[in-house]
Amino acid sequence: MLFEQILFFLAAAGALAGAVGVVVLRNPFFSVLALVGHLLALAVLFLLLRAEFLAAAQVVVYAGAVMVLYVFVVAYVGGIEEPLGPSAGSLRVLGPVFAAALLVEVAIATVGSGLRAVDSAGPDVTAGFGSPQAIGNLLMLRFLIAFEVASYLLLVAAVAAVVLARRRRGLEEAGGERVYQVGRRPERGPQAADPAAAGTGSPGAEPVGEREPADEAGPAEREPATAGTGASRED
């Protein structure tokens, strides 16, 4: 179908452009947005492969939840045109080597298996392929163990995130009810406002004083805390 072919090339170009943009763009905020665009283009490709459940999950989970937290963090602390440090000498050699190895690997995988399904006729699928029912049957029957293991892994990660977030807030827990004090903002100001102080290119990037000065966990680890407890301290 002509329309699907046009759509494929649009989505493929979008996915490639997004992926390149993540690496090339200097401003981390735009990098993250490029990643969002890339994920959305991938979702369209999933749709063209008749995998509508995967496409929806991709948008809900990645573009809608994970990337929101990336954007959230980057908008607060990033958005600055920071000069990257000089790349180390060994990386300069190893980087292309690994990239070439990856390319060879993907090429072998594609030529070896994937190309058989890719022709002008499109994938040959039965009715209901890629629907929630079909995915559910696969997960619950054929891949049950892998599915359960993955869910335990996620559970462990969630508990770990809660533990990490609680430890940083230990003093407050002991102190009982937390009362917001207007006058406390200047105290935390210097540490909290530091990343934003240099931010000429970032519109309105002043943190609102609810960031923890000691940022032990990286942005990725503090995701649940940011959305839940951390952000609740804004006002």
Binding site: V36, E52, V59, V71, F72, A75, P203, T226, A231
Partner: protein, 342 residues
């Protein structure tokens, strides 16, 4: 943004989409009708808020002020779209488009009548996808980018704070909305909205899933950033939040998207919990019942706005994470257990 929609319609129809001309008619009718609903809703809200607050509300333009939205739109269209010097202009231009796009696209899956109610085999919905509820959630979560980019690109602290609040709020309540709908999906055995409505021919899901319904309503209020959850644009603190720096029709687009969001959430709630097109009388009355149920829910939105004061930010977060989320999880657990046992 229209491309995924088209692919969904060709890839994932549950019931027959009908011939091409039917699809075109459906698209135009849904789009035109609901886009007319939004200004009417603005008028209705202003009139009703007036009544709630013992004043008249807009009553000068046209009979009973009915032409007030027209006057507003003419004013907005003819106004200049200004950008602050600190802003990122192109992003300010696309942010309202994202907002309105995601809101309009969600309309496509709302079922307005039983399949075949007006002859033919096709469903009276824009598209009937097997991933219905997920489709709603997907565009609901993408809607956030409109608010965030709008606020961030404005280069103003009020806007930025508003969009950051929107980010945290939408992520928090998205989870509760998803879980509250999961109970219904388990009970109906499908994610397709047409199937879910069809499964309610005996008893509406609001009866067995009353907890889910209440959670969906509360989380829906938060998702639409309506009072008492309008923290992203809390006018007493943030001027107007993420849309502070927007003027003219760009502001109008944000505004329209917000009201469309109310209509979409009411429509999803009516379809999922209140039996959709089911009601007394012959089948072709289905859309009437659907619109009636939507109207009741929309009036609830307005009523609550006039009644309940805005939450504080920490209250909002603890309501979402400590009350709604555990309740919704419990609801899903109980529903799943009952479905397996019975």
């Amino acid at each position: 943004m229209s491309s995924p929609l088209a692919a969904v319609s060709s890839a994932a129809e549950v019931s027959s989409p009908g011939p091409l001309w039917v699809q075109l008619v459906k698209a135009v009718v849904i789009f035109a009708l609901v886009l007319q609903l939004a200004p009417t809703l603005v008028w209705l809200e202003r009139r009703l808020l007036g009544r709630f607050q013992s004043r008249l509300g807009p009553n000068r333009v046209g009979p009973a002020g009915l032409l007030q939205p027209v006057a507003d739109v003419i004013k907005l269209v003819s106004k200049e779209s200004s950008t602050p010097t600190t802003a990122v202009p192109w992003m300010m231009a696309i942010a309202p488009v994202i907002s309105i796009g995601t809101a309009v696209l969600t309309l496509a899956i709302i079922p307005f009548g039983a399949p075949g109610a007006y002859g033919g085999e096709f469903a009276l919905a824009g598209i009937d996808v097997s991933i219905g509820i997920l489709y709603f959630l997907a565009f609901g979560s993408l809607a956030f980018y409109g608010l965030l980019l709008g606020g961030w690109a404005s280069g103003s602290k009020y806007s930025f704070l508003g969009s950051m609040r929107a980010a945290a709020q939408l992520v928090s309540y998205e989870v509760a909305i998803g879980l509250s709908l999961l109970g219904v999906a388990i009970a109906a055995g499908s994610l397709s909205l047409v199937d879910i409505v069809a499964a309610q021919d005996k008893v509406w899901f609001v009866v067995p899933q009353v907890v889910g319904f209440l959670i969906f309503l509360v989380a829906g209020f938060a998702e639409a950033a309506r009072p008492p959850f309008d923290l992203p644009e809390a006018d007493a603190e943030l001027v107007a939040g993420y849309n502070t720096e927007f003027g003219g029709m760009r502001f109008g687009t944000f505004f329209l998207a917000e009201y469309l969001e109310i209509i979409v959430i009411s429509a999803v709630a009516a379809a999922v919990f209140l039996g959709g097109w089911h009601g007394p009388g012959p089948e072709f009355l289905g859309p009437t019942w659907m619109f009636l149920k939507m109207a009741v829910l929309v009036l609830l939105f307005i009523w609550v706005r006039a009644t309940v004061p805005r939450l504080r930010y920490d209250q909002l977060m603890s309501l979402g994470w400590k009350i709604l989320l555990p309740l919704a999880t419990l609801n899903v657990l109980v529903t799943a257990t009952l479905v397996v046992l019975l």
